[in-house]
């Protein structure tokens, strides 16, 4: 049996472990809710974790993982965790939990069949996944800062502009040099 076949054989238990690990990064009462509630609208966080971990797993197992596709799936989980009460490390730590799940479920088989090398390769892929996740996390946080600025601008810029307090500065090239009188007034 190849490494890929092993992954597929144990897909549901690996995913089960992975989802459990992610859900348990939340307080116990919340973890219970995230696991139990099946409605994707009543429980969008639980639904995203369940759906996207499977998408990610399928992509990795397929062999020809598409970076853009992986970005999309990772984004749906990380975008949520980027605004929740997690440190950056805890927000992204769930990606490494996939390694643990795979190791736990496949360790025995891999040893028996001498496929440890394959495991190392797979773990390298997960390491790369973490780097992808890191980029997504940072872009989410940057977006929040941008949006804070945008909101301020939308709220006040127009009224300040209209009342003459705030001016949109034209491009430097189109600015007229100050005349002598202006210079004198300024002095």
């Amino acid at each position: 049996m190849t490494f890929q076949e092993l992954l597929l054989k144990h897909k549901s238990s690996i995913l089960g472990d992975w989802v459990k690990a992610i859900v348990e990064t939340y307080p116990a009462e919340t973890a219970r809710f995230l696991r139990q509630s099946k409605d994707q609208f009543a429980n969008p966080v639980g639904a995203a974790i369940k759906t996207e971990t499977e998408h990610i797993f399928d992509q990795l197992v397929s062999g020809g993982a598409e970076r853009q596709e992986l970005d999309k799936f990772l984004d749906r989980i990380i975008r949520i965790r980027a605004v929740q009460d997690f440190t950056p490390a805890l927000a992204l730590g769930f990606i490494y939990d996939l390694k643990r799940a795979v190791r736990r479920r496949l360790e025995k088989d891999l040893k028996q069949q001498g496929l440890e090398e394959e495991l190392l390769k797979f773990e390298e892929t997960v390491d790369n996944l973490m780097l992808q996740g890191f980029a997504i996390y940072v872009s989410c946080r940057e977006q929040i800062y941008d949006l804070k600025a945008m909101e301020m601008r939308n709220l006040y810029a127009k009224v300040l502009e209209r009342s003459g307090i705030f001016t949109v500065v034209p491009d430097q090239e189109t600015l007229e040099p100050l005349s002598e009188t202006d210079e004198q007034n300024k002095a």
């Binding site: 116990a28 009462e29 995230l34 966080v45 009460d85």
Partner: protein, 559 residues
């Protein structure tokens, strides 16, 4: 010196699980982005609120007044006596958990103290510990705890993470309105001067100038005039509304946010065009220049003080009744409190539409009609010249704002209007609309700038449903009837569902209105070229008459 680098087995032993601790032993951490700023001293002084001071939620010492415990105990006691509902809500909860997973803040944050039952328990545990014999003696065993400064900090953190949207109360088998518990907790916090700035400062502004933004009469009027210039530019129609005109038939009151904040201004322009289109005899007031009422998020007394201007201004101007704009909590205050609080408004008449003759029996007591009720009636009686195809580039869904939906029961009128002013309307899933609607995450004073991450958590369930209709039906516009929604959604949508914009219902009405004397409507109220917007959704361009007259070769097959 020992090597600080952890060994591999130590790294492998790192547990991602949060430590298991009882909720009473878990304290909130005030992190940037997750809490609201304290009210400035001057704002409390301006309206004579207790204990004004300079303080900061991240400080260890909140400078509470010397007798703060006595103030809180007395505050709870007084409210238990005054409000029968509060006493009942403190006593009857059996902690069945039906409300637990219904809060948008719990769903989005995953913080158990945002479960409505647990949020209420923050106050209930003090009620038990300080007022009930069992709780006083047995403490934690009987669900009671002692009043400490840590409790006040926890209240401030969590009662300002509740938008008082009342979704949880829809599911409570006992009918407990958890929003009312938040209202009481905030009143008590307010006795200590522990208010947030985004409520306290608008309250002070509103009391002195008539609106939350503190716009003085001339500024208010000037802002409206800028909008009139824009209407003229895009539609060719010059409108001349009146301000503070005595003898007008109606007074129109709407939230002040819409007079200058994007995208609310486009809804405001919509009102101006709609009223001009039907030749309504109405006036604006630069004193009753705010429909919203942040006093509602402060105390019952403050709500009453701020709301009094509506009837006072209607009386001064001698109007027959009041028409109100698109706002959320404004309508909860009007529908549930105003009549007994500021009424009876016996100097006003039962509202009758001067255009259709329809008598608004539902407003017989308050004498105030919602713009969507008014507009739906106009459409129903064929009083509006509408061309819904002008909104064909939009694929619209509707967000039921919590207060109009759950506070006044207005569910059908906005939908009726939308179905008449645009051709592509799609509902979000049933468990997320009408009385089950998910809050925007910014109500009850939470739409400040400093707490954006917290707001994003609260907005997640609503945005998740928007994402669904975007994926399924290509929805690109989220319509609503609330000024706070309009201000909250742009950032939410950008973060959660890029590609979808938001607007007020009346903005879409005005874009579809065929105005007398209009020029070809090449631009919408936002100043965007309609053909550019059509191109984005693969619709053929409209051939404007001017281009044809100018001898431009018109392409075959165009509209």
């Amino acid at each position: 010196m020992a090597n600080p680098t952890p060994k591999p087995e130590q790294i492998a032993a790192v547990d991602h699980k949060p430590p298991a601790a009882d909720w009473m032993d878990t304290k909130p951490e005030f992190k940037p982005g997750m809490f609201l700023y304290a009210v400035r001293k001057e704002s409390l002084e301006g309206v004579g609120q207790p204990n004004p001071r300079d303080w900061n939620p991240t400080d260890a010492d909140w400078k509470l007044p010397a007798d703060w415990k006595g103030i809180v105990r007395e505050g709870i006691k007084e409210r238990l006596q005054r409000f029968r509902s509060f006493q009942i809500f403190m006593d009857i909860c059996v902690r069945c958990g039906a409300c637990a997973d219904k809060c948008h803040f719990f769903i989005g944050s995953g913080d158990p103290k945002n479960m409505p039952v647990l949020r209420a328990e923050l106050l209930r545990s003090i009620y038990r510990g300080e007022f009930k014999v069992a709780g006083k003696i047995l403490g934690k065993l009987a669900g009671g705890r002692k009043l400490t400064e840590e409790v006040i900090k926890e209240w401030f953190y969590y009662y300002f993470q509740c938008t008082e949207c009342r979704r949880c109360s829809v599911y409570c088998p006992y009918g407990i309105d958890t929003a009312e518990i938040t209202i009481m907790a905030r009143e008590i916090l307010n006795l200590l001067g522990c208010q947030i700035d985004w409520v306290g400062t608008p309250v002070n502004n509103c009391f002195h100038t008539g609106n939350h933004l503190g716009l003085k009469p001339h500024t208010y009027k000037e802002n409206v005039e800028y909008l009139l210039d824009d209407i003229e530019e895009y539609s060719g129609v010059r409108i001349n509304p009146s301000f503070n005109r005595k003898g007008a038939e109606l007074l129109f009151i709407t939230p002040s946010g819409d007079v200058f904040a994007d995208p609310g201004i486009f809804t405001f322009m919509g009102y101006l065009m709609l009223f001009d289109h039907i030749g309504l005899d109405y006036t604006w007031s630069t004193y009753a220049s705010e429909g919203g009422n942040f006093g509602f998020f402060t105390s019952h007394e403050m709500m009453k003080r701020l709301n009094a201007k509506m009837y006072a201004e209607a009386k001064r101007l001698g109007v027959k009744w009041i028409l109100g704009g698109e706002c959320g909590h404004m309508w909860r205050v009007i529908t549930q409190y105003m009549d007994t609080m500021n009424g009876p408004a016996d100097f006003l008449e039962v509202p009758v539409s001067p255009i259709t003759g329809t008598r608004f029996q539902n407003s017989a007591s308050t004498k105030m009609v919602h713009i969507s009720e008014f507009t739906a009636d106009l459409i129903h009686n064929n009083k509006l010249k509408l061309d819904p195809s002008r909104n064909d580039h939009l694929r619209v869904t509707f967000h039921d704002s919590c207060n109009p939906a759950r506070g006044m029961g207005m569910l059908e009128e906005p939908r009726y209007i939308l179905n008449n002013v645009c051709n592509n309307f799609f509902e979000m899933p049933p468990q997320t609309i009408r009385e089950n609607t998910f809050c925007c995450g910014g109500g009850a004073g939470l739409n400040a700038g400093e707490n954006m991450e917290m707001r994003f958590r609260g907005g997640l369930p609503r945005m998740n449903a928007v994402q669904y209709v975007k994926d399924r039906h290509g929805v690109n516009m989220l319509a609503c009837v609330c000024a706070v929604d309009r201000a909250v959604f742009p950032a939410h949508l950008e973060y959660w569902v890029p590609g979808v914009k938001n607007c007020g219902v009346t903005e879409l009405v005005a874009n579809a209105l065929v105005m007398d004397g209009e020029i070809p409507r090449q631009y919408n109220l936002r100043g965007e070229e309609v053909n550019d917007l059509r191109e984005e959704v693969d619709l053929p361009p409209i051939q404007w008459p001017e281009e044809e007259e100018g001898g431009e070769p018109s392409e075959e097959g165009g509209e």
